[in-house]
């Protein structure tokens, strides 16, 4: 059952883009705030865990927004997004696997796991732009 207002595909895309901009702005603010607080106040226990997780809340909003958008998008929009998401997942899996081997077997410096999020987003954005260019 749809619990959200039905929009046409162009409106759905605009709403999704706006939600992503707002959510990622909140994410950046929360991330900076949490990093600052953790470095200067040195919280411990449950508070530290809560602060470490807090920036992920807007990311959950982005995932919900994407779900809503994909249910209201037309067939070409859905095709472009799902194709670019598949490409991003494949490229990110390959890069993390490769670098994991370099870390474990060749002594390369450790890269935190959250970089996966950055890589998948960058590849997703780039492949989405390339696919839209193809259909222009």
């Amino acid at each position: 059952m749809n619990t959200f207002t039905r929009l046409n595909p162009d409106q759905a895309h605009r709403h999704h883009r706006l939600r992503v901009i707002v959510a990622m702005s909140i994410y950046a603010a929360l991330l900076l705030g949490c990093v600052y607080f953790i470095k200067h106040q040195h919280p411990e226990g449950g508070l530290l865990v809560a602060l470490a997780l807090l920036p992920t809340v807007p990311v959950i909003w982005v995932m919900w927004s994407l779900y809503v958008y994909l249910t209201q998008a037309d067939e070409l929009q859905r095709r472009v997004h799902l194709t670019s998401l598949s490409m991003a997942a494949g490229v990110t899996a390959f890069l993390t696997l490769t670098y994991g081997f370099l870390e474990d077997f060749a002594g390369f410096p450790h890269i935190p796991a959250w970089w996966t999020f950055v890589v998948i987003d960058l590849v997703w954005g780039a492949s989405s732009c390339l696919l839209w260019y193809r259909y222009k």
């Binding site: 046409n8 595909p9 162009d10 895309h13 998008a73 037309d74 067939e75 070409l76 929009q77 095709r79 839209w132 193809r134 259909y135 222009k136």
Partner: protein
């Protein structure tokens, strides 16, 4: 696949945005259809045919040896 969507839209003096609204698709999708860079699904092709009151084969021209727009 070739199509006559641009001609049929022009006959009715609709903008791409108006046609998109009538078919409940995005304006980019109309543009991709008109430039023949995207072949519609069967349900969308039937919606287009119904909107223009034409049979499918008067709107879409399939040539067997041409590569598909969206492989």
């Amino acid at each position: 696949m070739k199509n006559r969507i641009h001609v049929l839209r022009a006959e009715r003096r609709w903008t791409q945005a108006e046609l998109a609204e009538r078919l409940n698709v995005s304006r980019q999708t109309i543009n991709a259809l008109e430039t023949e860079k995207y072949d519609p699904s069967l349900p969308l092709a039937f919606s287009i045919a119904r909107l223009f009151s034409r049979p499918l084969d008067q709107i879409f021209i399939y040539e067997a040896d041409e590569p598909p727009a969206n492989p």
